[in-house]
């Protein structure tokens, strides 16, 4: 079954456009705000939404997303309340949504139960601690659902790339550089070469993530891949808005809008 993500990339490609993928953590600072933020980001031009499921031990994330995770857990966010939030959200939007989550969140819930629950409302799973070697069980169970397992490729993957991208749908998450999520001072010039190496092995669309934080980054990188992922900086906008009692929705809308215009 073709997922909303796959359809979206086809649509963008036929219009000669790139995907803007934006990340927020579910329940940061609460789930009602998450609904409003998703709709605002869609309105501002986001093509695909990445929703983080808050986790106690997010070992692939930098301090910004760690704090978002903590705020979300403090507000009582869990898989069941996220499901309720999504059911409400889906009445208002058909935008493709991918979860960014740690494998224990699915595993502890029960893999099949989790997939049955979210089949139809969620379109992709990005699992930073589930490498090629461990993904078989989940991948087999996913065959019955319109949900893509989005593989991550790192600058250190080298000759693993071919196997990682084999038989994948949705998009390939290309990690821009070493390290956890968060801003980067600069990007390596080899990035273009790295993405091309991935493209040599697959027709699945590619998207670059980790460290993309402003319009300038977008302009530099947009031609390298089929999409760009922005996370920590949006989460920072949310954090700043909470701390200064400013309008979260408005700030995030304006930032995503500026990113979109840079494409």
């Amino acid at each position: 079954m073709e997922s909303r993500i796959t359809k979206k990339f086809k649509e963008l490609k036929s219009n000669n456009q790139k995907a803007l993928i934006t990340y927020i953590t579910c329940g940061d600072p609460d789930l009602d705000t998450t609904i409003d933020l998703v709709l605002a980001m869609e309105k501002a031009g986001a093509d695909i939404i990445e929703l983080g499921i808050p986790y106690s031990d997010p070992l692939a994330d930098g301090p910004t997303i760690q704090r978002a995770s903590q705020r979300a857990l403090n507000s009582g966010t869990n898989i069941d309340s996220i499901f309720e939030m999504l059911s409400k959200l889906r009445k208002n939007t058909d935008i493709p949504i991918a979860f960014l989550l740690y494998y224990n969140s699915i595993f502890a819930y029960g893999i099949e139960e989790f997939l049955n629950k979210f089949s139809g409302s969620v379109d992709g799973l990005i699992i930073p601690d589930l490498p090629l070697e461990e993904r078989k069980e989940l991948q087999e169970l996913l065959e019955n659902h319109p949900i893509d397992l989005i593989p991550l490729v790192a600058p250190t993957s080298e000759d693993r790339i071919k196997e990682i991208v084999k038989a994948t749908d949705g998009f390939i998450y290309c990690i821009s550089s070493l390290g956890v999520t968060g801003k980067r001072e600069k990007f390596n010039l080899d990035l273009k070469y790295f993405i091309n190496k991935i493209k040599n092995h697959t027709d699945t669309p590619t998207a670059i993530g980790f460290g993309i934080s402003n319009e300038k980054n977008v302009k530099t990188l947009k031609d390298f891949a089929d999409g760009l992922i922005v996370g920590s900086t949006i989460v920072e906008k949310i954090e700043e808005s909470i701390q200064t009692n400013n309008n979260v929705i408005k700030n995030v809308y304006e930032f995503v809008n500026r990113l979109k215009e840079a494409f």
Partner: protein
């Protein structure tokens, strides 16, 4: 030369649940380790440092007073506390740092709970003149200030970890994050039989010297193998080191002792196998203390070294195959055992090892006079004097 891959799992436990960025480093580590363990020169070098630097073999001490007082079988203490830096941790650190040198890594990182692994790593890095950074939870920094001071004197940088609960699990997360960022020139020296494959296997192999020596020493003294083995289990490296060489012996009863904290029916304990469920932590599938959504729960033990919500995957496996039995000991029982051993044998045990002694105190009276019990005295207790004095005065 044996170039086969090492098994990635112990039954269903273990595996490699890590970010893709680290996979090539884990594969490189596994390949290099396979070469090293089949390289006579590497083994010779490892054994040289164990003997000349750490002071091995450690004695297998017949605890006459303990034996008489508890009134059961003969009790032997494997004196890992007599290693250089005061615990078994250095066995593994020597092995891993020698591997790091072989792989030309310029920088060592480590996590630490009680500080014993951190001190051992800082020590070996000082000797080999390699840059060393240790991640330690801020809670543990408070309880183990002496070890923090030691690490700094040894030239290591100690990075306080404030995320999560500020204990060992968070220090481990932070070390993994560092490794993801610096994987090309950095070697991560994991302190226990935990983490992604091949670490649990590598650490076990470097710690099995404990059990191998016990095997030889008990044959010399008693001309037969022991009937009981007891060791404390946090991540489980001292226990795995003792147990592993005896795992194919059917007649030996093996006990791993977990930390029951304030009691296993409270929410303040670290009895992972006793009370945990299957899940993923720090790159491995194992038992862990988690809620129904898979969030890792805060754990508690008076001993910083046992204050860990997961357990080595091979212990989880030994538990399911019933090869070893996992029991638990409360803070109170451990403190009592700490004081008891100090007075009766003149040996001050680490609070971690005091958990093993506390279980011995329950088990020994029920054994026969001619039974032989070996307890791993994994570390010495100097570091814990402050905790003990705060807990309820001196003796």
């Amino acid at each position: 030369m044996n170039t086969k891959e090492l098994p990635k799992r112990f039954g269903k436990f273990g595996g490699q649940f890590v970010p893709e960025t680290l996979m090539s480093a884990l594969i490189e580590l596994e390949n290099e380790y396979i070469k090293a363990k089949n390289d006579e020169n590497f083994i010779k070098l490892f054994k040289y440092y164990l003997k000349e630097y750490s002071g091995r073999p450690t004695p297998l001490y017949f605890a006459k007073n303990l034996t008489k007082n508890l009134g059961g079988g003969k009790i032997y203490l494997k004196r890992e506390d007599l290693n250089h830096t005061g615990a078994h941790k250095i066995n593994n650190v020597l092995g891993q740092v020698l591997l790091a040198k072989r792989m030309n890594k310029k920088r060592i990182i480590a996590e630490t709970g009680a500080g014993q692994h951190g001190v051992a790593t800082a020590t070996v890095c000082a000797m080999f003149d390699i840059a060393c950074e240790v991640y330690m939870g801020e809670e543990d920094i408070k309880r183990q200030s002496l070890n923090v001071y030691k690490m700094k004197m040894l030239g290591a940088k100690v990075n306080p970890v404030t995320s999560g609960t500020g204990t060992l699990k968070d220090a481990t997360n932070e070390a993994i994050r560092d490794w993801v960022a610096n994987v090309k020139d950095t070697f991560y020296v994991i302190g226990s039989v935990v983490g992604p494959h091949p670490y649990p296997t590598i650490v076990r192999d470097f710690q099995r010297i404990i059990g191998d020596e016990v095997n030889q020493q008990i044959m010399e003294k008693e001309n037969r193998l022991p009937d009981y083995l007891i060791a404390c289990v946090g991540g489980g490296s001292n226990a795995m080191g003792l147990f592993y060489p005896f795992c194919n012996e059917d007649n030996i009863k093996i006990y791993g002792v977990e930390a029951a904290g304030l009691g296993i029916d409270t929410d303040k304990h670290a009895a992972t196998i006793t009370k945990g469920s299957l899940g993923i932590i720090h790159g491995m599938m194992t038992y862990l203390l988690q809620d129904k959504y898979g969030q890792i729960m805060p754990v508690h033990s008076i001993s910083a070294g046992l204050d860990y919500p997961g357990v080595g995957p091979e212990h989880a496996y030994l538990h399911t195959t019933r090869k070893a039995k996992y029991v638990s000991i409360t803070d109170d029982e451990a403190i009592h055992a700490f004081k008891y051993l100090t007075k009766i044998e003149g040996i001050i045990p680490a609070l971690e090892s005091a958990h093993a002694i506390a279980y011995l105190m329950k088990l020994a009276p029920k054994t026969k006079k001619d039974d032989i019990i070996v307890v791993n005295l994994s570390g010495r207790g100097d570091k814990d004097i402050h905790t003990i004095s705060q807990y309820g005065g001196v003796l």
